[in-house]
Amino acid sequence: MNQTVVSYLSQYEFYDVLLKLFGGNQGLLALTIYLLLGVAIIGMCATIGGLGTYAERKISADLQARIGPNRVGPYGLLQMLADGVKMMTKEDIMPFTADKMLFYLAPLLCLTGVFATLAVVPFSSGFIMADMNVGIFYLVAISSLVGVGVFLGGYASNSKWSMLGGMRGASQIISYEIPVTISLLAITLLAGGMGFGTIIGRQGGLPHQWFMFHNPFAFLATFVYFIGALAETNRAPFDLPEAESELVSGYHTEYTGMRFGFFALAEYIEVFVVCGVAAALFLGGYQIPGISIDILPLQAVQFVIFMTKTLMLYYVVIWIRWTLPRLRVDQLMSVCWKYLTPMAILNLVGCAIWMVAFDGQSIAEMILGGQH
């Protein structure tokens, strides 16, 4: 059955008190809880996205032996607020040749696709908005809206840079979806389910219980997933759709003010979601080492563990961006179709054979199981 944050809360006594407060109307109470938590999650993710821009500049400055933003607030921490205000007070310019309807629609599609993925991100065992049975499959599917948004953004601007960026972006996003999906298939195979709860429940808190170290193929699948996910979020070294030195700013060249802000926000939140999914699927997610009981205060610990893993991956993403040079378009496509996709299929086959040959045991289980 699908588990949601409401059905998790309903096992505690204060839920009944709340229910009485709402006059026994369960639908209304559920709606209120979902709305409050949804706003909270979006607020949190927007903050993380804002901090992401700050972290990006600070880390890049660090890697290039510069200082980075340090004027606004202590250590330049309020830079993101200044950026946000600036975004809102910029004039909205639309090229007169643009397709007006699609020009408005494109950032909305990106934003909707990314926000909808937040519904299944597992922050802790209870605090997952909807632990659907089709969890990761849903996540891959709904995030493909971003590809349509990127393409339409490029098309609607009616600018040559935008158009090139949009075409490249859409073809890159759909190409890299294949290795990502097949890597996720390998993990589905190991876990025996597509829901995030099932997948994380099959792992443990300690590294040797993670799916990353389950078998050699899963180890490879981790990297295939991560590289593919980087490309899907248009991050360097796969930032061809917005390559500054070739395409000015790619598909959002003509976007100013808030509409550009929505594209940027969607991108940063998507990076966060992708890192969160990698942490959940391969790095044990919110599992606390050694503790398997489930009480309410431990949810906070689980949340902290999940966020730590996710933000560490976020750091890796930024680190990669400022270390590696950009790929060429033909290299980009050959990396996807000639290296990542065959490797992902190999991983899938390998994981299936491993499951049958060793009865679903991981390497660590086999070694530790042999001792007694």
């Binding site: 059955m1 699908n2 639908g27 709606l31 397709d99 309807m101 699609l102 629609l105 659907m132 049975n133 089709v134 499959f137 849903y138 891959v140 599917a141 709904i142 493909s144 809206l145 590809g147 349509v148 393409f151 339409l152 098309y155 075409m167 859409a170 073809s171 759909i174 979806e177 597509m194």
Partner: protein
């Protein structure tokens, strides 16, 4: 309550955007309306409790087919997306002349009659199923069916897809200029 809301809004989205696909004169806009219509269909599947089918609809149609259509439109390029020619009814000429409408009418009538005949049979023979609010997972059921009862169809579909892949590759291959 929520289910009714979801059903009505999905149905409205599906039908309204489908009509908009027909009425708009800009081919890019009709692609986008088609996207909205397909989202509505996914919503309808979701209200029926078919979670896997709903997500498949999103994955294949929204993520794949619509983008492919957009690419296909970009193959033609140019500003001539917007068709200004009109037929007798004042609709875009690309929607057909009187012959296409006539044939469409006949096909639609036959289809409608067949469906009524089929549906009559079903309603008579099957007991009316009470609608429950239980949505068990459809994924495991589909998996078991694919791997046991319908394993031949499952394997043959892979051959079908192989054929489609080879065909797509051959069509798009650069050819010698004549």
């Amino acid at each position: 309550m929520f289910l009714q809301f979801l059903f009505i809004s999905s149905a409205f989205l599906t039908i309204a955007s489908a009509v908009a696909v027909l009425l708009t004169k800009n081919i890019m806009h009709s692609c986008v309306f088609l996207l909205a219509s397909l989202i509505g269909v996914a919503g309808l599947y979701a209200t029926l409790g078919a979670d896997f089918v709903a997500v498949t609809q999103i994955m294949v149609y929204m993520g794949g087919v619509v983008i492919l259509m957009l690419f296909a439109v970009m193959l033609t390029g140019g500003k001539d997306f917007i068709s200004r020619a009109q037929n007798l009814l004042g609709l875009p000429a690309s929607m057909g002349n009187r012959w296409t409408y006539g044939i469409g009418l006949i096909v639609g009538l036959v289809f409608l009659l067949t469906n009524i005949k089929l549906l009559m049979g079903i309603t008579k023979s099957l007991p009316v199923k009470t609608i429950t609010n239980e949505f068990p997972s459809t994924v495991n059921e589909i998996g078991h069916l694919l791997i046991k009862e319908h394993v031949l169809a499952f394997e043959i579909s892979s051959v079908l897809l192989l054929g489609a892949l080879v065909g797509a590759a051959i069509i798009a291959r650069p050819r010698k200029q004549n």
